[in-house]
């Protein structure tokens, strides 16, 4: 589980930068679950923690990329409306 979490954490960190924020969220959430379960194994706790942290970061980035588009479009149009 620790290895799976680490792999998913690394993979999901890439997705937000290629416009796949939603995929990053899904893979990241699975990585978080596996990382948390993997931390119960004392021998692989370090690896599981690394996977957990990377998965949490990728969920955050994925959510930002997923939701930021709406905010950016809204902000730009708002500025345009104010200027007009």
């Amino acid at each position: 589980m620790a290895v799976a979490s680490l792999v998913l954490g690394i993979c999901s960190l890439v997705f937000p930068f290629i416009g796949l924020g939603w995929l990053s969220c899904i893979v990241g959430i699975v990585g978080v679950i596996l990382g948390a379960l993997g931390r119960k194994n004392v021998e692989k706790k370090g690896m599981a923690t690394a996977g957990l942290v990377m998965s949490i970061i990728s969920v955050a980035l994925g959510l930002i990329m997923w939701l930021a588009c709406a905010a950016c479009i809204g902000g730009i149009a708002n500025v345009a409306a104010t200027a007009a």
Binding site: I33, L37, A70
Partner: protein, 230 residues
């Protein structure tokens, strides 16, 4: 919304540590709830944004382009998150009462921050309004609108304050959640009359969110009464 989710998660984990809930178990419960909440929010958005015939045609013809424009509806997220949490709690064998005590009071805080995001983005806007504190929205060019997102954010903070006072005493399982459902459904039902984005769908004389509010209010009252009898 992202800031709201992560601030809430931080506060929940801090509270969980105070009442001796396992860190790993709580992470699993929160991750499953978040996944279910995002799925529910997206699903309800699709259901209320597209007519059923159009949606069915798109699925039959294999046109899934609408998924890239997916938004989120809070009620879908709330219902999905609650169902996800119930499943995760049974799996991780955690005490419902304890988890409820450290999760539910922070939900309105996250929602409040999410609504401030709506205010900045211009979505979920109010009716046309020219009085004090009127705001502009990207979705309604050239008009000023009622800052309904700000009002909802403030009311959510008030709900959080009530819930934080309520959890001071020992309460039965699902009691805190039921109170939150009652308070929020009343707030949401009332605020829907001030909304201007009618694209969210309506049935008979009420909007979709108002119908869900009525159902959740009844569920909350039933749960609260049953627990009081016990």
């Amino acid at each position: 919304m992202t800031i709201g989710i992560f601030l809430c998660s931080f506060l929940i984990l801090k509270k969980a540590r105070q009442i001796n809930l396992g860190f790993e178990e709580m992470i699993v419960v929160m991750a499953i709830s978040l996944g279910a909440a995002l799925f529910g929010a997206g699903l309800l958005y699709v259901l209320v944004s597209y007519p059923s015939e159009v949606l069915l045609d798109k699925i039959v013809n294999g046109e899934f382009d609408f998924l890239s424009e997916i938004g989120s509806v809070y009620y879908g997220g709330l219902i999905g998150g609650i169902l996800g949490a119930i499943v995760a709690l049974r799996w991780q064998k955690l005490d419902v009462k304890k988890v409820e005590q450290c999760v539910v009071p922070f939900l309105p805080l996250g929602h409040s921050i999410g609504r401030l995001g709506c205010l900045l983005a211009g979505c979920c806007y109010g009716f046309e309004y020219t009085g004090p504190l009127a705001v502009r929205s990207a979705f309604v060019i050239g008009k000023t609108l009622f800052p309904i997102q700000g009002v909802e954010a403030l009311l959510n903070l008030k709900i959080m304050a009530i819930l934080l006072l309520y959890i001071r005493k020992n309460r039965p399982s699902y009691h805190i959640l039921a109170l939150y459902l009652i308070l929020y459904s009343i707030v949401r039902f009332s605020l829907e009359f001030f909304r201007g984005d009618l694209i969210r769908g309506s049935f008979l004389f009420l909007s979709t969110s108002q119908w869900i509010s009525v159902i959740l209010l009844l569920v909350g009252i039933v749960v609260l009464c049953r627990k009081q009898e016990q």
